[in-house]
Amino acid sequence: MSHMHIPDGVLPVWIVTAGWVVTALLLAFCIKRVSSIELKRKVPLIGIISALMIVGMTLEIVPIAYHINLTVVAGIVLGPALAFISVFIVDLLISMFGHGGVTVVGLNTIIIGAEAVLGYYLFQLFKEVMGNKSMFWESSLAALLSLLLSTSIMLGVVYISQISPEKIESIGHLVSGTGSNTNGLRVLEDGINFSRFAKTVFILSPLGWILESVITGLVVKYVFRVRPDLILPERA
């Protein structure tokens, strides 16, 4: 559970819709950037890497919910634009397999796509800064950080979803009424206790983050030893 797939029906419709709109815009942007490059060569590449991510998800390391995602690996190998497209394909497919929500494919793509894109840029940054020989630390740190960030984005989405227009009233009502939780955060009548939610996520996730970043590091290290051309920027 290095990241969450938001399920259907827990978030308000407006934010779900917003998720689709933003994803569509980002996809349009990415596709525009890609189609200048040779499409015929890229499609099989996207296909294989997306398939690899799904294969990763079918291999459960710690049973029940801890599987690997390889999003950062995808980001490093594909580059940001292709990786985002690939994440969208993966999310669409796994939603059909009942693995994540359908209505929230848009939101999930933003969150997980951010992971891949951030992973790519962080890796490039660490590579410049650290110049390590094996690429292990660069990639695993990049993975760890981008997982942390993508989880924060997810929490952000959940947080924003609470501030829906229809809820504003009830917030006012709450503040004046029965009072809120001891730590001062808002508790919504029908909604999510955000601090409790964030705590749960931050308790459950780190094991997933660590596993994912160690595996990312080892995978990238391996690929770097065998096919350095796939990791270094010289690639076509």
């Binding site: 259907d8 799904i54 993966v90 397999f97 596993l211």
Partner: protein, 274 residues
């Protein structure tokens, strides 16, 4: 997420849903998900879940396996439910049931419809690169699954995966994934060659098969409409009206009767024959 099993059921099943067109089943799933999204009634959602279970039983596929596959999002829903815990089991149940129903509706679609048909039906709304990406991803998925199977066997035979030695296992396993990635990239080069040689110019699938709309499609859509209708009625009348009780009783009855009719004459395990 047992992709091979899902795919196998879709390609080898013989139920009325397998006989319906992909588009009808997509509409069905859409209607169910719409009702799940608009409804906050615990009883209605439970009724929807029972109805979906009834349908699963009628597909004559392994029920437990399919229910397990579709139960995955419930784990995440549980976290949301725990976070919005207000002392009432009912509102926690609503969150979990929403996730369960939506995911089961999707799984029903995918275990009764071979993927080329599903993709062909949603093709028109997708940009080309994603359309083609979907097809190639699915094709690559099965090539990679076979490679993975081979790889895991290789690791085990050579002592790379040993009970109780977690660190070594993770290191070896990661090397395996790296190997898979490198192989995968080779494969994509080859796919590229094949596309080139065979004159690819933007047409991977042959489009949906020309199927006729029949009584199966009608059934699927009618069930979907009924579910959405019930959701709308209950939304209008508020929760815990008489309607809730009726729906629940009705769906439960359907479930029990179907189980009796379909499953009991066989046994749980033997319901699915090749």
């Amino acid at each position: 997420m047992d992709v091979s099993a899902i795919d196998y059921y879709a390609n080898h099943g013989v139920s009325f849903l397998h006989g319906a067109r992909a588009l009808s089943k997509i509409i069905f799933a859409g209607l169910v998900i719409a009702s799940v999204v608009i409804s906050n009634s615990f009883y209605l959602l439970l009724a929807v879940y029972f109805s979906l279970l009834t349908i699963v039983i009628w597909t004559r596929l392994p029920v437990l396996k399919i229910v397990t596959i579709a139960a995955y999002p419930a784990i995440f829903a549980l976290i949301f439910a725990a976070a919005s815990w207000n002392g009432s089991w009912v509102s926690a149940g609503v969150i979990v049931l929403k996730a369960l129903c939506a995911s089961l509706a999707m799984v029903i679609l995918i275990v009764t419809t071979p993927y080329p048909d599903v993709f062909s039906s949603i093709e028109p709304v997708l940009p080309r690169i994603i359309r083609e990406g979907l097809f190639l991803t699915y094709r690559s998925l099965f090539v990679l699954l076979e490679l993975t199977d081979n790889l895991v066997k290789g690791l085990r035979v050579r002592g790379g995966l040993t009970h109780g030695r977690y660190i070594k296992n993770v290191v070896n396993f990661s090397s395996g994934i790296g190997l898979l990635l490198v192989r995968g990239l080779d494969l994509s080069e080859k796919f590229y060659g094949v596309l080139n040689v065979r004159g690819y110019s933007g047409r991977i699938s042959g489009g949906g098969r020309h199927e006729k709309t029949g009584v199966n499609d009608f059934t699927a859509i009618v069930i979907g409409v009924l579910i959405l209708g019930a959701a709308l009625v209950i939304k209008k009348n508020g929760e815990l009206s008489v309607y809730d009780g009726c729906m629940l009783a009705l769906s439960l009855a359907a479930l029990v009767l179907s189980t009796a009719y379909v499953v009991l004459p066989n046994t749980w395990g033997r319901a699915w024959k090749k």
